[in-house]
Subunit: 239 residues, 2 copies
């Protein structure tokens, strides 16, 4: 039985009142000076608790007016997008990667995104398949800017996916994920051992390092073999 710091106790007290419905959207919460008396503590302590609730989107604070339960749940869901090898091993399956194609080429003159991406340099294209327990799990195609990551030219991707290499070498990034669905093309259907046109979940991830556009990966998952889970709830990220 570990004792919570006081500001955590105040925060969880208010949080549970909100989540239980005891106080509802728009309701006013006691002021900082009010809570100081209730908990017999300094103002900085209640301020810390309320600031965290505000950062988490559970309350709105307005100078002079007071602190109010936020009108709607935070619409932001937290989505876990893990490294595929890690995810597969975590499921207790054997992970394997097989490269299909690798080539260096210039950016397509017709593709504006590739132009910006390459920054007048060349691009590395790698396609391959992620395999879990000898069953094809996901097909992926990746483009890497050789301008942004020149060292990658010498890396070996016959059995290690470029994503893992990049995670080790380009650690800090900004990323955008786009999640959709598509019917498998003849080519990817053959690789994934499914009928042409069968439904696949797709993830397109673009990654930057600072201002530099590093890589774009397109992954196709056989429908039902992989789901993404996002959760929003009372459990916020710790301090």
């Amino acid at each position: 039985m570990k004792l919570l710091p006081l500001h955590e106790r105040i925060r969880t007290d208010i949080e549970s009142q909100i989540l239980s419905g005891a106080i509802g959207p728009g309701d006013k919460i006691a002021s900082e000076s009010g809570l100081m008396e209730v908990y017999g503590c300094a103002r900085m302590t209640v301020n810390k608790a309320l600031s965290r609730l505000s950062a988490a989107g559970l309350v709105d604070r307005r100078t002079k007016a007071g602190t109010f339960v936020a009108k709607r749940p935070n619409e932001m869901m937290v989505l876990d997008v893990p490294d595929l090898p890690v995810e597969i091993v975590r499921r207790g399956q054997a992970y394997r990667y097989r490269m299909i194609q690798r080539l260096e080429r210039a950016a397509s003159p017709h593709d504006e995104e590739e132009q910006r991406f390459a920054e007048r340099g060349r691009l590395l294209f790698v396609s391959g398949v992620h395999i879990a327990d000898d069953q094809p799990f996901a097909y992926e195609e990746r483009l890497v800017s050789l301008n942004a990551v020149p060292e990658i030219a010498g890396a070996d991707f016959t059995s290690e996916p470029p994503g893992s290499w990049l995670l080790r070498h380009i650690p800090w990034t900004e990323a955008e994920n786009r999640i959709g669905a598509v019917g498998a093309s003849a080519q990817s259907a053959e690789i994934l051992h499914i009928p042409t046109g069968a439904a696949c979940l797709t993830i397109d991830r673009r990654t930057w390092r600072g201002e530099k556009y590093v890589t774009h990966v397109h992954q196709q998952f056989v429908a039902g073999r992989y789901d993404l889970v996002a959760r929003f709830g009372a459990v916020q990220r710790g301090s």
Copy 2:
């Protein structure tokens, strides 16, 4: 040109050093007392900046050892899962909802999840289609626990989707989203005006209020007509 509070300036200073790669994963950051001298401020001020960076996952703090740039980017992506009518209108399209079926029934004796869900009460089942500019956009099936939300029995869902009604009446929730893909069944294919088996993006969302399991909705989106976007980056949630 608005002046940032000092703790925000300290936070963004360190944040940009991390995101630019000037300091890398595992590197040690100046201690609180060191930063006090650099910025000529009190310890609480640098503590606030560093605590926020820690909460955002950009640094790890260890008592006695110091503060370090976190080993890997936070794998949590922020996913925006908005209300469908709002989303469609925001795209500049006309929104319409058409109910297909509505019925009240007992929980299936063979479905353990439904049993827990209903808590020995009855369930409301509503299916319908979301329409954007006269084109079917998403098919949805929803179950609502009448035990958790008795008021919903009297609501009219012929042209308003139950999700919007619930947002207005059951405002604070915990939710889990599961995102996948599926080939359209004969029934949903007809409703969505697509061939049977065509790829669809699916979202399954389960919502609680406190401990009470309120609703489960299954939505199918025609592939390509709707993508989910998740982003991780330098821009953290404000205070």
